[in-house]
């Protein structure tokens, strides 16, 4: 796989002292600094395109990881940003004010993983029924006929 230009992860790291970068060049942001960081890299590094927003459940570590994949259309690079929130109180700010594309993706994450995005204009279940109980993509979700 050929990247046109590597994302300026080092620069981002230097600019925002609170972020950490893992060996896969993924930027990990603490959740309380998320909005500030996202707005910052959107404005300064031109990550104007939020391609993907999803989350993953890690029950052993009692955490949920929320993943943002950002692209820069004019610069051509891409970066993965992660933030970690606690499993017991899965609430975090919505990035909808920054990228409108988060609209349905956050609803989907809320629907399937139960993460509450505060500040989202219309946080309702999107794929499942409104009366559906539980969040199926969490690892501890049990559905009726468990198939081994």
């Amino acid at each position: 796989m050929r990247e046109i230009t590597a994302a300026p992860v080092e620069e981002i790291k230097q600019k925002y002292a609170y972020v950490t970068v893992n060996d896969q060049q993924t930027i990990i942001v603490p959740v309380d600094k998320l909005m500030e960081f996202m707005q910052g890299i959107k404005d300064e590094f031109e990550f104007e395109y939020l391609t993907n927003l999803t989350a993953c459940d890690y029950p052993e570590e009692t955490k949920l990881e929320v993943v943002y994949n950002l692209n820069s259309i004019c610069k051509g690079y891409t970066v993965m940003v992660k933030t970690i929130i606690s499993r017991d109180n899965p609430a975090m700010p919505s990035v909808f004010p920054i990228w409108g594309g988060a609209n349905w993706q956050e609803r989907e994450v809320y629907d399937l993983l139960g993460i509450v995005f505060t500040g989202h204009p219309n946080l309702k279940r999107i794929l499942l029924d409104d009366k559906f109980d539980g969040y199926p993509l969490r690892k501890d979700y049990q559905w009726e006929s468990v198939r081994e």
């Binding site: 050929r2 896969q24 395109y49 259309i73 409108g100 999107i126 794929l127 029924d129």
Partner: protein, 367 residues
Amino acid sequence: MLRTQEYILNFGPQHPATHGVFQVILTLDGERIVKAEPVCGYLHRGIEKLAEARTYTQVIPYTDRMDYLAAMLQNWGYVQAVEKLMGIEVPERAEYLRIISGELSRLTSHVLATGVYALDVGGFTGFLLCFREREKMMDLLEELTGSRMTTSYARIGGVADDVTEGWLDKLDKLMDEMPGYIEEYNGLITGNEIFQARTKFIGKLTPETSINYSLSGPVLRASGVNYDLRKAKPYGIYDRFDFEVPLGTNGDCFDRFYCRVLEMEQSVRIIKQAIEQIKEVDGPIIAKVPKVLKPPKGEVYQEIESSKGIIGYYIVSDGTNKPYRMHVRRPSFINLGYLDEMLRGYLVADVVAILGSIDIVLGEVDC
């Protein structure tokens, strides 16, 4: 007291223009739309959850069932993500076969989109004319992959099968005829005065909104944003081909439609070049991969350009033979996110025109 009253119209889930089971709850003032609330999920099968209980190879057929109109592109995106995770080098011939079958899939999808759009605005003949060519392509796809729609042709590390004798010539012949057929569509559909009156300046999208709302594919490019992953971040061997990225100017329904028509021409070009080049490439069609796939611990996000837009696969591996988590960025799903604002102020007839121009596949929206 005499007053006008807004009323609610359930557009779908069973409606000929929603291309499947998709519902838009329209609040109407006469025929004018005040508010539109899209409701999806009628076709939700939980593919992401299902994938967690399947081995990496077993997931491939599930990806077909998302965008069943361009199944090969879905397969391709998935296997590419797994290959990136495992660091597998794909043989050159397999890359060519992926390009050929992928672009053929894109063609079938775009031909269908063109025809169905003609049907959406009321022209039935365009619909059936497009099906005529689609059938020919389907036959070719069937001969190559064994299946018309749900191809499951890509394998992790390569493709399932090599081409049969004479298949490339048949494809070449069809690709020679294709520009003529596209001309026919242009004559019947694109050039039609009523069609243009119905689609021009309807559902306009500015480049800024398109980018902000993460729209992709022809929907994004119709508003003038040059962002085609095949050019912007050439995956596979797309950098070896000479093709252009058609762009729109107004970002209206007509541009979205016409972008697809122009993309068909480019796909034909790519396939023609690939047919030329593959004849000189010999070798295996699948890399040496272990029987049981156990990717190393880690995660990957890989995206390719599907016919509807950018399809991305986010896969987390925990070192076992099953994905720990798989998420798909579905272009149809995200392109629909702006539907409410797009529809406001237009007429009921425009709902059909706008929805059709986004070109959604409900299997993909609902996953």
